[in-house]
Symmetry: C2
Subunit: 158 residues, 2 copies
């Protein structure tokens, strides 16, 4: 899986934690997490295209959350970065398999292998869709109550 998924999740959480009235630039976000700025910018653009962030160009510009965290699921983040394609793609090799020249078409029904793999992938997607970033944030704060405070302090300091 793409590494940008992790970056995107942490950036979205941070943007909510600091809750600034002005957008935050790629430069500050990259400096905060010690990430390569241009590449992080690329991932952020993907989030903008997916509608999770809004961007304001020009000086004093940057990125802002497009909607509250309880309206953003992990599925949204993964889809924004990885794209909408399924991980397992059926190439219908059975149609090139033995019996491909048989007069009766036994391969008109859906491929059972593909069906089984899709069921598993659907379970994954559902588990992702059931968890919002607000849930993740709450879990993080449950383990480290002073986390939000520290992040806001960093935001004021720098």
């Amino acid at each position: 899986m793409n590494e940008g998924v992790e970056w995107a999740a942490h950036v979205l959480l941070l943007l909510d934690w600091v809750d600034s009235d002005r957008p935050m630039s790629t430069t500050r976000l990259a400096a905060g997490y010690e990430l390569p700025p241009p590449y992080l910018n690329k991932q952020l653009q993907a989030l903008v295209r997916a509608g999770l962030l809004t961007s304001t160009p020009g000086a004093r510009g940057g990125f802002r959350l497009a909607r509250p965290l309880d309206k953003i699921t992990l599925m949204d983040v993964v889809t924004a970065i990885e794209g909408p394609d399924e991980a397992f793609r059926c190439t219908e090799i059975r149609r090139h398999g033995p019996g491909r020249d048989a007069p009766e078409r036994v391969y008109d029904s859906p491929c059972a292998v593909n069906a089984a793999m899709r069921r598993a992938e659907l379970a994954w997607r559902q588990a992702l869709a059931e968890q919002t970033l607000a849930d993740v944030q709450a879990e993080a704060e449950a383990h480290a109550p002073r986390l939000g405070e520290q992040l806001r302090a960093w935001h004021e300091r720098t």
Copy 2:
């Protein structure tokens, strides 16, 4: 996801369908599905290493099922081809994030993002582990009852 997963599943099913007393060579399997023989051989070697197939070298050699299909889950197949690594790997970027220099270690607890992603991936793995290749085969035969018959005929013919 690796394309070899699909190939492996179909090959394992075929080996059970024809139920030959002699092993089947890479050449025949590749010819049957119109796949590049050397590359298919590579995937089959992975299945041997994972203990799903047994190989007999030399002339008249080939591959044989190591155990019945109801003892092989889709999880086994995916793990054999893709390896045991998780799709989402947490790089702990929060430790390089804001507050990394804070005296109090707020990051000693597990990363909430990682925990959430692991939950989703666990759902995927469980769904894979719950489905055996025998189930998949039964589903295929339910849609196409004459499939096994055709495959055995192909096996006798060639």
